[in-house]
Symmetry: C2
Subunit: 340 residues, 2 copies
């Protein structure tokens, strides 16, 4: 049986280089790896990474659970996870994403990955206030980082946008522009992002001394459409709609147009997520996003810290939101509307 040492000698390379080439480490040049793999195949050498992983008790892999269902802006998320993956690779870790059709499947995959020791740490997305996945991981003592907070955020590493301040300030801004009939088209309160954005909008309205209408929506365009259609049937239309997400705002705009109201003219419209298409919509959609340009690398650093033994309770980060005003905010208020 050919050994690693023999293979290295034949190739005129160090055993370390051959081992790292076969393991796919990025510090080995592409041409060298191709040469090593061809030689390994020729002489029948097979690396034994699974056995080595077993001895070391580590998978050198981080798993991110990708939830099914609406409410996650996947384009931005996948971009962030691509950057997270590249940063983890520098630390010798692979990132894998685990798709799940629903929450039951998500929990099953989580249990299976832990039982089979296929991941050393986890990324949990689209957090709920009471999150069964987080409860389970804390109970098992498995390292993880959440994108979004939970009711137990003090106990686990997390990264999140300051949705409360972002939506409170958006409400203030709308009130300062003269809006008095404002509605918040809210995402479900069981999701932490839905909860905090709603609390922020309510706090801003209270400060400004105005009443806030609440319309509950499933977090997608269809949900925004249905919620605003119901809202418009209940009374006089608001002059501004602050929506929990851009997708909700796109559905809301459609409901406004169906009622003969023009978004960005009769009614101001504001979302969150800064989706790539937002600037090309008619009117371009005002939005918000986390001010960190490299959220993925930040996530990777939290993972490396928690795997390095840092105290999870010190690894919470809440970043400010950046407002992105666009033409959908340009609603013309009549005098009657300004002083109801």
């Amino acid at each position: 049986m050919t050994r690693l040492r023999d293979l290295a000698q034949e190739l005129g390379l160090s055993a370390t280089t051959v081992s790292r080439a076969l393991d796919g480490y990025p510090d080995v040049a592409e041409a060298t790896r191709a040469r090593v793999m061809a030689a390994a195949r020729r002489v029948g050498y097979l690396p034994d990474p699974a056995a080595r992983r077993l001895r070391r008790g580590r998978a050198d892999t981080v798993a991110a659970l990708i939830p099914g269902g609406p409410g996650v802006e996947l384009t931005a998320l996948l971009h962030a996870l691509g950057t997270c993956s590249a940063t983890l690779a520098e630390g010798g870790l692979d990132l894998m994403l685990v798709p799940a059709r629903d929450e039951a499947e998500e929990r099953r995959r989580l249990a299976r990955l832990v039982a089979r020791r296929e991941a050393d740490a986890f990324v949990i997305l689209r957090t709920r206030r009471e999150d069964a996945r987080v409860d389970w991981l804390l109970e098992q003592g498995v390292p993880f980082v959440t994108h979004g907070r939970t009711a137990r955020a003090a106990e686990h590493p997390h990264i999140d946008g300051d949705a409360f301040a972002g939506f409170r300030d958006a409400l203030r801004h709308l009130a300062a522009r003269g809006h008095r009939r404002i509605a918040h088209v809210a995402a479900p309160d069981s999701f932490m992002f839905g909860h905090l954005r709603r609390l922020g909008a309510m706090a801003g309205a209270t400060e400004a001394g105005i009443a806030l209408s609440l319309a509950e929506a499933t977090p997608d365009a269809a949900g925004g459409h249905a919620a605003v259609r119901r809202l418009l049937q209940q009374g006089p239309p608001p002059t501004a709609l602050l929506c929990a997400t851009d997708a909700i705002a796109i559905g809301a705009a459609h409901a406004l147009r169906e009622a003969g109201l023009r978004p960005g003219h009769d009614v101001a419209l504001w979302g969150h997520d800064n989706i790539p298409a937002g600037t090309f919509l008619d009117p371009p959609l005002a939005s918000m996003e986390i001010a960190d340009p490299d959220i993925g690398a930040h996530l990777a650093r939290l993972l490396l810290a928690v795997l390095g033994g840092a105290d999870p309770a010190t690894l919470g980060t809440v970043l400010p939101l950046r407002h992105i005003p666009r033409a959908s905010l340009d609603a013309t208020l009549t005098t009657q509307e300004e002083t109801p």
Copy 2:
């Protein structure tokens, strides 16, 4: 040391049930699994799945590479992969997604997953006509399925929409409505989807005896915007824009409005992907999509077939596209435009 048999006896369960519970198989009830895992922790029993995988020489895992960069409609894709995952689970296989920032990282991850035997088969997305990943996998003899064809599609299992016929028929349809100045806003020709949609549009125009303008776009909203802005500077505006993707069409609509032209009124607009927001845009965006309602399960069946030893050359499937007409097609042609 506690053995599996002892643990099963203590719990009053069969060894098979205990083993499958610890492995996370979906046929074990959630409550039973919780009881088994709690007992295993209490007595210090650790399953040895990595060692067993090593003996069997299989990872029981399929990896899908998620490309970075623009041009992949991730919402539909992730939904399909969620369904694919659930179908694979019924066959005892896990699906993991591997994000990559660029093509170099994608190839590196692929080589690493093969070298470390962490996946038994692969799903390759956003295929190119000359696809280095496909060449490499064929050379290595590793099983895989592509979503989209390549120049070597006869050699590998694939699933794809019939983009040629779909775009040819769309062009026919526009010509039958009286359009004579039509442009195709095309995705890069190096991507198979960009190539086939372009060939289809060109074939339809040739049949109808009209000239087709081609505008090249990067496959996202910014690309569609830039391409149509250039197109409008070059001469009289077309009366219809057939776009390679919905994202391109959203950018194209913005460029039309900037030039004082109304999509769905002055210029007909048609995309592909049936993005969830499409029906809520102003005007609602005509689109196309693969007619199969469950592309993810179809993909899973191809994977199970190729892993079961079926001849890859028999596993190609090209499905018809379904046209989705919406108000963006309603352009009013003046007599002058109809007979240029």
